[in-house]
């Protein structure tokens, strides 16, 4: 184990673009665990960590919703680790009674078996009316017919003492669609992911609380050819357990710089100035968090992880440390954490040259 102090690192695997690794049901988790071990402190988003019924809890990994991650990268918020959150549960009025009971029982199971603090529970005053769409790029997007109903319910939960919010929206079932068949066979984009991000971004942005989303869907018929990366979503009736676990220790979001000096120094506080590296797929570098880090001069590790996008470092004129795999990215992080210049690990190692107009001196 390295003796060097942790290197706070952002791991971004964008939602709904079909990343080969991390584009399915929490299949970015092994990479996140590895990068957390290498960096000692990893900040990543629900798409990486959520495996429906599967999850992993690691005190070195900070679960931060995507829009909050963007704000952290931009220096607009800091993250304050907490022992536990009180997770309010926000259910879409469009969820049928039986499916609603399944979600309530998952929440009860997490209280009884994992010791999480969950509640209050609230149903929206109108169905949220989620619709799915796809951009020209192939990335999944989506909309919400009643964002006002979502925000009203979120504000009521916050007023009732929730310090984090798990939201469950009824998503359209489409068991016969080609997109779903491709996803289950490991060859497609997660058609739900774009709309999920819109729901959680809206809530987190407006409330300033940790938020994450689980879709409510009817169970699918058995598919013996199911890709292992999608299997986490077919183990139960809901996608909620991972969200509750992730939010139960998600850090608080603090406006940054603070309006008033902090009462006491908090050594656990994660300040945006402390970000030491960002890791993202090499073909998906055109997102807010990655660009904000790149413009702040934070080392960017671009990992070969194909998706439907081809927005590369070359296309955007960014300087990156390329990595053929997340294992290689972990090596880069260890080098950065130990203060080893990445160039020293590459061959050939170019000779130093004197800049024209300068004289040699000691």
């Amino acid at each position: 184990m390295t003796a060097a102090r942790p290197l706070p690192t952002l791991l971004v695997i964008p939602t709904g673009i079909g990343c080969e690794l991390g584009g399915y049901a929490g299949d970015g988790l092994p990479a996140a665990r590895l990068l957390a071990a290498a960096s000692g402190c990893l900040i990543t988003h629900p798409n990486v960590m959520n495996g429906a019924a599967l999850y992993w809890s690691d005190p070195r990994i900070h679960y931060v919703e995507g829009s909050a991650l963007d704000r952290f990268a931009a220096g607009a918020i800091a993250l304050r680790p907490v022992r536990r959150q009180r997770v309010g549960l926000l259910l879409d009025a469009g969820i049928e009674e039986e499916l609603r009971w399944r979600h309530l029982q998952v929440a009860d199971g997490c209280r009884a078996s994992l010791g999480l603090e969950i509640g209050p529970v609230l149903t929206t005053d109108e169905p949220l009316a989620v619709t799915l769409s796809q951009g020209a790029s192939g990335a999944s997007w989506g909309e919400l017919g009643r964002p006002d109903a979502l925000l009203r319910a979120g504000q009521q939960l916050k007023a009732a003492g929730a310090t984090a919010i798990a939201v469950v929206a009824r998503f359209p079932d489409d068991p016969g669609s080609e997109a779903l068949a491709a996803y289950r066979s490991g060859a497609g984009v997660d058609a739900l992911a774009g709309a999920e991000a819109v729901v959680s971004h809206l809530l987190s942005r407006e409330l300033g609380l940790p938020c994450a989303h689980a879709p409510a869907l009817s169970p699918l018929p058995l598919d013996p050819a199911l890709d292992p990366r999608a299997a986490g979503e077919e183990l139960g009736y809901t996608f909620l357990a991972c969200v509750l676990v992730g939010l139960s220790r998600a850090p608080d979001l603090l406006p940054w710089p603070p309006a008033e000096p902090l009462a006491a120094a908090d050594p656990a506080l994660l300040r945006p100035e402390a970000i030491g590296a960002v890791v993202a797929p090499a073909g998906a570098l055109g997102g807010a968090a990655v660009l904000a880090c790149a413009e702040r001069g934070i080392p960017l590790i671009a990992v070969d992880n194909p998706s439907v996008l081809a927005v590369s470092a070359e296309a955007l004129g960014l300087e990156v440390l390329p990595a053929a795999s997340y294992a290689e990215a972990a090596g880069h992080l260890l080098a950065l954490r130990e203060g080893i210049a990445p160039a020293a690990l590459q061959r050939p190692l170019a000779r130093l040259l004197l800049k024209p107009g300068h004289t040699e001196s000691h």
Binding site: P14, V198, E295, L309, V311, A315
Partner: protein
């Protein structure tokens, strides 16, 4: 933002890249359409002045 007035709108934009930091150019391109909720550069057409395609959802 008024809760009752909240509306989401999908958007696709083309942006000719100018010299200088990119993030500010993107934010300026999205701002007339609403408050960006989620966006990404989804394609880049190379050239002397690269053309970026942005896909976004804004609060309008």
């Amino acid at each position: 933002m008024s809760v009752a007035a909240a509306r989401l709108r999908p958007l696709t934009l083309q942006l000719v890249r100018q010299p200088g930091p990119l993030l500010a150019q993107i934010e300026a391109a999205l701002a007339p359409h609403g408050v960006p909720l989620r966006w990404a550069i989804t394609a880049v057409e190379p050239g002397a002045a690269a053309v970026l395609t942005l896909e976004a959802v804004v609060l309008a």
